[in-house]
C-alpha cells in the first residue's frame, strides 16, 4: 500500500490543494520515509520481542515535523524546518519495562534495539519488587487525524512571514511601543503504532502556535512593561491564523503595554477575582490537571514533578471545589492540543469527569497505572513526545464546564464591589503536591461597584487548591467558554514535553489573597 503522506491525507479526508504544496526538499524525504513498510518492520519487532521472552511489546515508528518562524520589529530572525524520524520499541518482561530507540529505521536496527529493550527489561526484572502489569486494551486497526482544515505545512512560507510582520507593524503603530517579538510554530506528528495485542494505528496530528510579546520602555525612568498574546496554541491548522483578529489583538496589546507603564499597583489583601479564560486555563492546568494524574498519587513522579494532595482513598470523598465546579478530561475535544484518536498504549481517546458537582471523582489513567489500583480499563493517557521517548502518563485536555446559563463577563462583574479582572497567563508556580500556588497575568483591571475600572499592574494572587475552587461562586455560560493551552508542558525523567488544552468560561472567585509584586522584597500580602 502506498503510505505517502498525500495519500494518507486523501484517505483520511483532508482536502489538499496540490498547487499550494511547495516543493520542499524534506517533504520528499518525508514521503520516502512514509513509504517504508512500517507494518512489516513492526511485525519483525513484535515477533523478535516475543521470541526473546517479552510478555507485551509495542513499537512506534514516528515522524515529527516542525516549522518555526520568528521575528522582531521589522525583521525576520529565523525560519527553520526540522524533522525527526525513528522508532522506539517498548517491552514488558517479567513485570519490568524496557525501551530502546533509534533513528536508524532498518530491519537490522530494529532487531538490535528490540534485543536491547528486552535485555534492559530482564536486567531490571531480576531486581523488581512489584511486577508491572497492564489492563486489557481492545485490538484496533485504524487511521485517524485531528480536525484541522488547512495543513500549515502546505502554506507558502511568505504567508507566514507576512502574517508576523503585519502583526508587528500593528503593535509598533501604537505610540510608546518599543519592541515586539512574534513567532509561529507548527507541529506535525505522523505516528504509527503496533502492539503485541494486535493493534495497528496510524495518526496524523497538526498543532499551531502563534504568539507575540509587546514591550514598552520608559528609558528615563528605567522601567518597562510587556504584554504577551492571549491567543495561545490550538490543535488546529492554518485556519487558526485566519479566524482570529490577530492584528487587532496586537494593537490592543501595544496599547495595554504602554498603559501598564502608568498603571496603579494593587493594594494587597483579600479581593474578589474575575478570571477570563485566557488566564484561568493555566490555573486549571496546574491545580486540577496535574493533581488528578494517578502516577503522581502513586509516587511515580515523586522525584521530579512531585506527588499529589489527592490519594486513591479520596476518590468520591474529597470536596474539590464548590458545587458549581465540574472538571472533565477529554481527549476527543475539538481543537484540543492533547486530542488524539488513540494514546501511545493504543487506547482510544475518551471523555470522563474528574470533578463532578465539586466532588473529586476520578483519575487520569494508563494501562499500567490502572492495573496498580485494580481498575479494569485505561482512560488512555499514555504519551511520548518523540519516537525516542518512553511513553508514560501525560495529561489529557482538562476543562471546566460552563454554566447552563447565558451569563457573561458583565453579569459576573455586576456582583463585585471590590475586585480584580485578569486576562492572560503570566508567572506561575505551585508546590509539589499541588496545594499552594501563585499566578500572575498579562492585564489586570480594577473592579469597582460592579464595573471594570482602572488598569492595575504588578498583580499576583496566591491560594490553596481546594480553597480556591471552593471560592468559585459564579461561572459564565457557553458563550464565554474558550480553550487555552500549553505547547510544552514538562514532566517526567528524562523530561518530556506535552501539548495540552484547557477550556473554561469566565469565572468568579471570592476573597482570594492578592499580592503586590512590586513592593520591596515583593509580594507580602
Amino acid at each position: 500500500m502506498d503510505r505517502s503522506r498525500r495519500t494518507f491525507l486523501k484517505q483520511t479526508g483532508v482536502a489538499v490543494s496540490v498547487a499550494a504544496l511547495p516543493p520542499w526538499a524534506l517533504e520528499l524525504e518525508a514521503a520516502e520515509a512514509a513509504a517504508i513498510d512500517r507494518a512489516k518492520l513492526a511485525a519483525l519487532a513484535l515477533a523478535a520481542a516475543k521470541k526473546l521472552g517479552a510478555g507485551y511489546a509495542d513499537i512506534r515508528i514516528n515522524r515529527y515535523r516542525t516549522e518555526s518562524v520568528s521575528t522582531r520589529e521589522k525583521q525576520v530572525q529565523s525560519v527553520a524546518r526540522n524533522q525527526s524520524f525513528g522508532f522506539g520499541v517498548r517491552v514488558l518482561c517479567d513485570g519490568a519495562w524496557g525501551f530502546a530507540a533509534s533513528r536508524d529505521v532498518t530491519e537490522a536496527s530494529i532487531r538490535r534495539m528490540t534485543a536491547e529493550a528486552v535485555a534492559i527489561a530482564k536486567g531490571n526484572a531480576a531486581f523488581q519488587r512489584k511486577k508491572i502489569s497492564l489492563v486489557p486494551a481492545a485490538r484496533v486497526s485504524t487511521k485517524w487525524k485531528n480536525a484541522f482544515v488547512t495543513d500549515p505545512f502546505d502554506r507558502p512560507l511568505d504567508d507566514k512571514i507576512q502574517f508576523l510582520l503585519k502583526l508587528n507593524e500593528s503593535a509598533l503603530g501604537v505610540k510608546g511601543v518599543n519592541f515586539v517579538n512574534s513567532s509561529l510554530s507548527f507541529v506535525n506528528e505522523q505516528k504509527f503504532f503496533a502492539s503485541s495485542d494486535g493493534s495497528q494505528i496510524e495518526q496524523y496530528i497538526i498543532r499551531s502556535n502563534p504568539s507575540f510579546g509587546v514591550t514598552a520602555v520608559n528609558m528615563l525612568a528605567g522601567d518597562f512593561q510587556s504584554r504577551n498574546s492571549l491567543g495561545g496554541p490550538q490543535g488546529m491548522g492554518y485556519e487558526y491564523l485566519e479566524n482570529h483578529d490577530w492584528l487587532a489583538e496586537a494593537e490592543q496589546a501595544g496599547n495595554e503595554a504602554v498603559q501598564k507603564l502608568k498603571a496603579k499597583q494593587p493594594q494587597p489583601g483579600k479581593r474578589d477575582l474575575v478570571l477570563d479564560p485566557t488566564h484561568l486555563w493555566l490555573t486549571i492546568h496546574e491545580s486540577v490537571g496535574h493533581p488528578t494524574e494517578l502516577d503522581r498519587a502513586l509516587g511515580w513522579e515523586a522525584n521530579y514533578a512531585g506527588t499529589s494532595f489527592l490519594t486513591p482513598d479520596k476518590t468520591g470523598k474529597l470536596q474539590y471545589g464548590s458545587k458549581l465546579v465540574n472538571f472533565f478530561a477529554d481527549r476527543t475535544q475539538a481543537a484540543g492540543l492533547a486530542t488524539v484518536g488513540y494514546d501511545d498504549d493504543g487506547v482510544p481517546g475518551q471523555k470522563w469527569y474528574l470533578v463532578k458537582d465539586g466532588m473529586f471523582v476520578d483519575w487520569q489513567t494508563t494501562r499500567d497505572l490502572a492495573a496498580q489500583v485494580g481498575r479494569k480499563n485505561s482512560y488512555g493517557c499514555t504519551h511520548a513526545d518523540s519516537w525516542g521517548s518512553v511513553p508514560f502518563p501525560r495529561m489529557p485536555n482538562v476543562s471546566l464546564e460552563a454554566a447552563k446559563s447565558d451569563a457573561g463577563l458583565d453579569e459576573l462583574l455586576a456582583d463585585v464591589k471590590d475586585g480584580i479582572l485578569i486576562f492572560g497567563d503570566g508567572s506561575f508556580s505551585i508546590d509539589q503536591q499541588r496545594y499552594n500556588f501563585q499566578f500572575g497575568g498579562q492585564v489586570f483591571w480594577e473592579i469597582k461597584d460592579g464595573k471594570k475600572g482602572e488598569m492595575l499592574r504588578d498583580v499576583a494572587y496566591q491560594s490553596r487548591t481546594p480553597d480556591f475552587w471552593g471560592a468559585l461562586d459564579a461561572l459564565g455560560g457557553e458563550a464565554s467558554y474558550r480553550m487555552g493551552g500549553s505547547f510544552s508542558d514538562g514532566k517526567g525523567e528524562p523530561g518530556q514535553s506535552n501539548a495540552v488544552s484547557h477550556g473554561c468560561p469566565v469565572a468568579r472567585f471570592r476573597q482570594i489573597n492578592v499580592l503586590n509584586t512590586a513592593a520591596r522584597q515583593g509580594a507580602r500580602s
Binding site: Q83, I120, F179, G222, N436
Partner: protein
C-alpha cells in the same frame, strides 16, 4: 557516537552541496541511557541513539535553516536544498554577519568514555543498590539515573571547523518516610561516572527524609537562611539568562539603568562574590565553543561584586563597537574571602532556617529579578547554632538582586559541582552554600 573523522566528512559533504554564499552546518550524535524508579520499584528505563544534522545558509544575506536526522547522502543534499529554498523566500537577514573563518580552539576535558559505555547491567545494579538502601532504612525511594554521551561538529563555508565530545551522568533520589511527613532529596552529576558518588546521593536523601519528619509550622516572613548548594543552584538558574547586553541596552533588563545606560561597572552584589566562566576548570569543564562559534575563554560576568561584563553577540558587539563575548560556557560563583562550611554557617546562626532545595521557581518581575517558588524536601529551624526541628515548607518571593546584594550575604562556602533540580541534573555549575541575612518567605505550604 560520531567520530571526528566521520563528523568532518558529514560537514564537508553538507558544505559541498551549498550553493549559497555563506553557510554554517552541524552534526550531532547522542547515546543516552536512563533508569527511572519509584515506590522502590523500577518504572521506565531505556536507551536512545540519535544523529542529526543542521544547515543554515545565507543567500544574498537571506537566511534559511533546516535540520533532519536522516543522514544518507541524498538526505544531506535535501537538507541543504531545503535551507536554500527557505532562504530564497525569506527577507534579508539584517543581522547577518559572515560566518567565522578558521579559529583555534583549546580543547576542554568534559568527556569520559566510561560514562557513555556504562553497561545496562551496571545501571540495573546501581538502582537496585539505591533501592536496597531505601528499604533498609524503611523509606520509599523514587529516583533517576542517566548517562549521556554527545559528539558533534560544526563547520562554516568560510573555513571554520570544530569537533567536541562530552558526557554527563547524574543520580537523584527522593526518599519519603512511610508516615508521609518526611521527604529528602539529593542530586549530583559529573561528566565522569567514576567521580559520581552514588552512595552519598542515597545517604543524604535518606538522612534528610528521616530528619524532616513531623515538621513544625512557622509563620511566613523574612528569615535568616542557610542555603545548601542545591538550593543555591535552584535559585540562581535564572541568573544565566539576564546578562544579555542587547536587552540591557534596550532598557528591558535588570541590568538596564535609567537614561538608556547599563549597570556595568556598578557594585551589584556582595564584594566577595565573583561569577565567571572557565572552559578548562578541572571539576567543571565547559565547551571550547562559545556563542557564535567563538573560541571560549575564561571570562568574568561579576568580579568582586561589580558587574564587569554583559554578553555581546557578534551582531550586537558590532552595533555597539564592542568585542563579542567569548562565553559563558559554564557558571562558577566563588568567594574571594575565606569560606565557611554549612556546619560552620549553622553554628554561626542565632535564629534562622536551613533550606536544602527549592522548587517550581518562576520569574515574577524581571526588573528586579523577583522570583517565586517553594522550598521542598526539607527545611529545618536553627536556633543558637544548632538544628532544632524540621519546619513545613514555604513559598518565597525573593529578588535575586537583593539576595546577593551588599549587606545581605553573610557567609559563603567553597563551591561544589551541582545541577539545578528542575533541570534534573542536566546542567552543571560550581556553586557555594550561602548564609544570607534576609530571605522572604511569603506563605506556608503544607506540601511534603
Amino acid at each position: 557516537m560520531i567520530s571526528e573523522t566521520d563528523a568532518r566528512a558529514v560537514c564537508h559533504k553538507l558544505l559541498s552541496h551549498v550553493k549559497a554564499e555563506d553557510a554554517s552546518v552541524g552534526v550531532s550524535s547522542e547515546d543516552y541511557a536512563h533508569q527511572r524508579f519509584a515506590a522502590n520499584n523500577f518504572t521506565t528505563c531505556g536507551l536512545r541513539e540519535n544523529l542529526s544534522v543542521s544547515v543554515t545558509v545565507w543567500s544574498g544575506k537571506k537566511r534559511g535553516a533546516a535540520a533532519t536526522n536522516a543522514v544518507d547522502d541524498a538526505a544531506l543534499r535535501r537538507a541543504v536544498e531545503e535551507a536554500e529554498q527557505i532562504a530564497a523566500v525569506s527577507p534579508v537577514d539584517r543581522e547577518y554577519l559572515p560566518t567565522l573563518a578558521a579559529q583555534t580552539y583549546k580543547p576542554s576535558a568534559g568527556y569520559a568514555e566510561t560514562t557513555v559505555k556504562f553497561p545496562a547491567a551496571s545501571r540495573s545494579r546501581l538502582v537496585h543498590d539505591v533501592i536496597g538502601m531505601c528499604e533498609k532504612e524503611s523509606v520509599t525511594g523514587a529516583g533517576f539515573f542517566q548517562a549521556r554521551g554527545t559528539a558533534g561538529a560544526f563547520a562554516t563555508k568560510n573555513g571554520n571547523f570544530g569537533y567536541e565530545r562530552s558526557s554527563l551522568t547524574s543520580l537523584s533520589l527522593t526518599a519519603r518516610t512511610p508516615d508521609g511527613t518526611g521527604s529528602g532529596y539529593f542530586l549530583r552529576n559529573h561528566y565522569d561516572i567514576g567521580r559520581l558518588d552514588t552512595a552519598r546521593v542515597a545517604r543524604e536523601s535518606i538522612r534528610k527524609a528521616q530528619t524532616s519528619r513531623e515538621p513544625h509550622t512557622l509563620d511566613a516572613g523574612a528569615y535568616t537562611v542557610v542555603l545548601e548548594a542545591q538550593a543555591v543552584a535552584d535559585l540562581l538558574g535564572f541568573l544565566r539568562f539576564v546578562f544579555d547586553a542587547r536587552s540591557a541596552d534596550e532598557g528591558r533588563s535588570p541590568f538596564s539603568a535609567p537614561g538608556g545606560k547599563t549597570k556595568v561597572g556598578e557594585k551589584i552584589f556582595d564584594e566577595r562574590i565573583s561569577i565567571y566562566s572557565d572552559p578548562w576548570h578541572a571539576e567543571l569543564p565547559g565547551s571550547a565553543f562559545a556563542q557564535g562559534g567563538l573560541p571560549a575563554q575564561k571570562m568574568y560576568l561579576v568580579r568582586s561584586g561589580v558587574l564587569e561584563n554583559l554578553v555581546y553577540s557578534r551582531f550586537w558587539a558590532q552595533q555597539k563597537g564592542k568585542e563579542p563575548t567569548p562565553g559563558p560556557v559554564n557558571g562558577i560563583l566563588e568567594s574571594s574571602a575565606p569560606t565557611a562550611s554549612v556546619e560552620e554557617m549553622i553554628r554561626d546562626t542565632k535564629k534562622g532556617l536551613l533550606v536544602g532545595r527549592f522548587w517550581y521557581i518562576r520569574p515574577v518581575d524581571i526588573r528586579t529579578l523577583l522570583i517565586t517558588g517553594l522550598s521542598r524536601d526539607g527545611v529545618w529551624s536553627i536556633e543558637d547554632g544548632k538544628i532544632q526541628y524540621p519546619v513545613r515548607n514555604f513559598r518565597f518571593n525573593q529578588s535575586l538582586l537583593q539576595l546577593l546584594a551588599p549587606g545581605n550575604v553573610d557567609l559563603i562556602s567553597s563551591p561544589e559541582r551541582v545541577g539545578s533540580s528542575e533541570a534534573q541534573g542536566g546542567d552543571s555549575n560550581l556553586l557555594p552554600a550561602l548564609k544570607v541575612k534576609q530571605f522572604n518567605f511569603t506563605s506556608q505550604s503544607e506540601a511534603v
